[in-house]
């Protein structure tokens, strides 16, 4: 049980005034505090006002507050009458001069301290009772406390806050990139407080897409956290070097890459003329004798804080719990590293209760997204396609493995498809399956070469009908939905 200490008297008075007389802020007070937080006659008035809120969903106001206390204040012989009248008079004079934000902030501090006390006591009790066995439970209690700190009582946006909307759009359009021209142009990019899901079959290069995101956003000076539940930290960093410097893992004489040839149509637009294979000679490889010198020279030449903006962390598969993830983010924040973009490769390899795997999976994704909202970072997660998706020539958003509700959690879904023949031709397709804010339902054809770390060398939009081919009836469904919305 959380111990309750009373609020300081001036604060009680301010809160009571808001609770009784303010339509706008009284509701926040009603939800934040209970009559038990008040003392003496304040408690009596708070009880009456809270009951009024509960019944009428508004404050008693100047018109009714005295009526509520009529039973007491109409009795001149009652010793409480002058006290209550005094409080009422104070409230009326205070109203209009209260700094609401300050008062609510103070209350939040007060409640937080009370909650912390309760948390410490509870977790200490668990440890005392169960010792080592109670560690996880105690961690959960502390974690619950940390999570609750996000409670936000700001009033939210008003209709005339267009500046904030414009700033939001500007930031969203410029902040992150994918390095795939068509997606960047259409703004299908990671964004703060959103989850971008990338769906592909096993061994199709999901981690390469992550590395591609690191490359382009790291070069823009973004702080990136890459959490791997599969590959080791060194191989990932090696892939980053390969991607950024276009180098191979081992020395080779020549690497064949597929390039797109474009020509201008009569309207001056670039259209795909054909494909060609060209040979490129990497300047060095990770296996070269001079690899260290080459890397050092290049990294130094950039002159950016290369060592500061990227953190790659590996957790063993099926070991990273949600609370460990939160604690890890907290520990990074303590070291002044607040990531702009978090890549989790991939959430299905985090710890999930095997007894309830599918439900837990959906809930995990929901919580990861909630964390992105709370900490204001962009979240990118690859996810594996189902076996049928892997067999299909084109992976779609319905090929999500484990829990289909994940599709509902994600703000945008990209699907990666590549047949064996396309792999040999070094081609692949990306479909924008879903985007909550921007347009979806289109595809991109791209050339790639993983041996030199290039997820996307060239790209072009697939014709709009292409998407329809793999999602028959999807557009009609959407049209029906928008009609219903209207």
């Amino acid at each position: 049980m959380t111990p309750r200490r009373k609020l300081r008297r001036p604060l009680q008075e301010d809160l009571l005034t808001l609770l009784c007389l303010s339509k706008e802020d009284g509701k926040a007070v009603y939800h934040m505090v209970t009559p038990a937080h008040f003392e003496g006659e304040y408690k009596y008035i708070a009880t009456l006002a809270s009951d009024f809120w509960k019944k009428h969903n508004t404050c008693p106001g100047e018109a009714h507050i005295a009526d509520l206390m009529d039973e007491v204040i109409s009795d001149k012989n009652n010793p409480r009458t002058p006290v209550l009248k005094g409080i009422l008079s104070n409230m009326f004079s205070l109203m209009g001069s209260i700094n609401t934000v300050y008062v609510l902030d103070r209350v939040q501090q007060f409640l937080r301290v009370q909650e912390l006390k309760g948390t410490i006591i509870k977790s200490a009790e668990v440890i005392q009772l169960k010792e080592e066995e109670g560690l996880r439970e105690a961690e959960e209690i502390i974690d619950k406390f940390r999570r609750n700190k996000q409670a936000d009582f700001s009033p939210g946006l008003r209709f005339d806050n267009f500046d904030q909307v414009l700033k939001y759009n500007e930031r969203r359009e410029r902040e992150f990139v994918t390095g795939i021209k068509e997606l960047d142009t259409m703004n299908i990019v990671p964004a703060r407080q959103t989850l971008m899901l990338y769906l592909g079959e096993a061994k199709s290069g999901k981690s390469w897409m992550c590395v591609n995101l690191i490359k382009y956003n790291f070069l823009q000076g973004k702080k990136i956290l890459y959490i791997s539940n599969e590959m080791g930290e060194e191989p990932i960093l090696q892939r980053c070097y390969q991607s950024i410097f276009s180098i191979t893992k081992r020395p080779v004489d020549n690497v064949e890459v597929t390039r797109f040839m474009f020509e201008k149509d009569p309207y001056g637009r670039e259209v795909l003329k054909g494909f060609e294979t060209i040979g490129v000679v990497p300047e060095f490889s990770m296996g070269s004798r001079n690899a260290r010198t080459e890397l050092l020279t290049r990294i130094r030449a950039w002159g950016i804080n290369a060592h500061k903006n990227l953190v790659i962390k590996r957790f063993p598969p099926r070991s990273l719990t949600l609370s460990m993830y939160r604690n890890y983010l907290d520990s990074l924040e303590d070291k002044d590293f607040c990531p702009d973009l978090v890549i989790i490769d991939y959430p299905a390899k985090m710890y999930i209760d095997p007894r309830n795997y599918r439900i837990e999976m959906g809930s995990l994704m929901d919580n990861l997204r909630a964390e992105a909202v709370a900490r204001n970072h962009a979240l990118f997660c690859p996810h594996q396609a189902t076996r049928s998706g892997a067999k299909a020539r084109t992976v779609t958003g319905t090929d999500l493995s484990e829990d289909w509700s994940i599709a509902g959690v994600a703000d945008r879904i990209l699907t990666f498809s590549r047949t064996r023949a396309e792999k040999q031709a070094r081609l692949a397709r990306l479909l924008v399956d879903r985007d909550r804010e921007e347009g979806d339902g289109f595809g991109v054809l791209m050339s790639q070469n993983y041996s030199i770390g290039q997820y996307c060398l060239d790209s072009t939009l697939l014709p709009p009908e292409y998407f329809e081919k793999f999602y028959p009836g999807r557009r009609e469904d959407d049209e029906g939905k928008s009609e219903a919305d209207q």
Partner: protein
């Protein structure tokens, strides 16, 4: 010199085995008349033979393939196949390149079915599956005019 009249007169005297051979010979003559080099079935057959030869699978000459009992059905299927090729590209050279590539994929596909040995006859029987295997390898590419471009690149890379 035996006249045609004498030959026809001898037909009645032929044994059943000799009659069977005669019927077969007549069919070959009919096929030779119907299929002229340069038409679509012949082109298809020539490409098929070439692909099989390159793959080291069969070295039969075109004439013997034409005389095969599978040829009439192959000819009909070929005509439909060319409708697909014309949809995929308007350029005759690209059409032939797509066909060659498609037959290669078909051979791979038949190979993947472990219980079916690859032979010219099997490929001839399965020739109608070329559009399907092409679409499996490059989904939607033919419809949207990309197949010719990809195949041209693949053919260029082919030693």
């Amino acid at each position: 010199m035996t006249t045609a009249k004498e030959v026809l007169g001898l037909i009645a005297q032929l044994s059943p085995e000799e009659m069977r051979k005669l019927r077969q010979a007549l069919r070959y003559i009919k096929v030779e008349e119907e299929v002229q080099p340069g038409d679509q079935p012949s082109d298809t057959l020539a490409i098929l033979a070439n692909v099989l030869k390159k793959a080291g699978l069969e070295f039969r000459d075109l004439g013997s393939l034409r005389r095969s009992q599978y040829f009439p059905a192959f000819r009909d299927k070929s005509e439909k196949l060319w409708e697909y090729l014309e949809m995929a590209s308007s350029d005759k050279t690209k059409q032939m390149a797509i066909l060659s590539f498609g037959i290669r994929l078909l051979v791979d596909n038949i190979r993947s079915m472990n219980y079916v040995p690859v032979s010219a006859h099997v490929v001839m029987q399965q020739i109608h599956r070329v559009p399907s295997v092409l679409d499996q390898a490059f989904p939607g590419y033919a419809e949207f005019g990309l197949l010719g471009k990809v195949v041209t690149m693949e053919e260029d890379n082919d030693p």
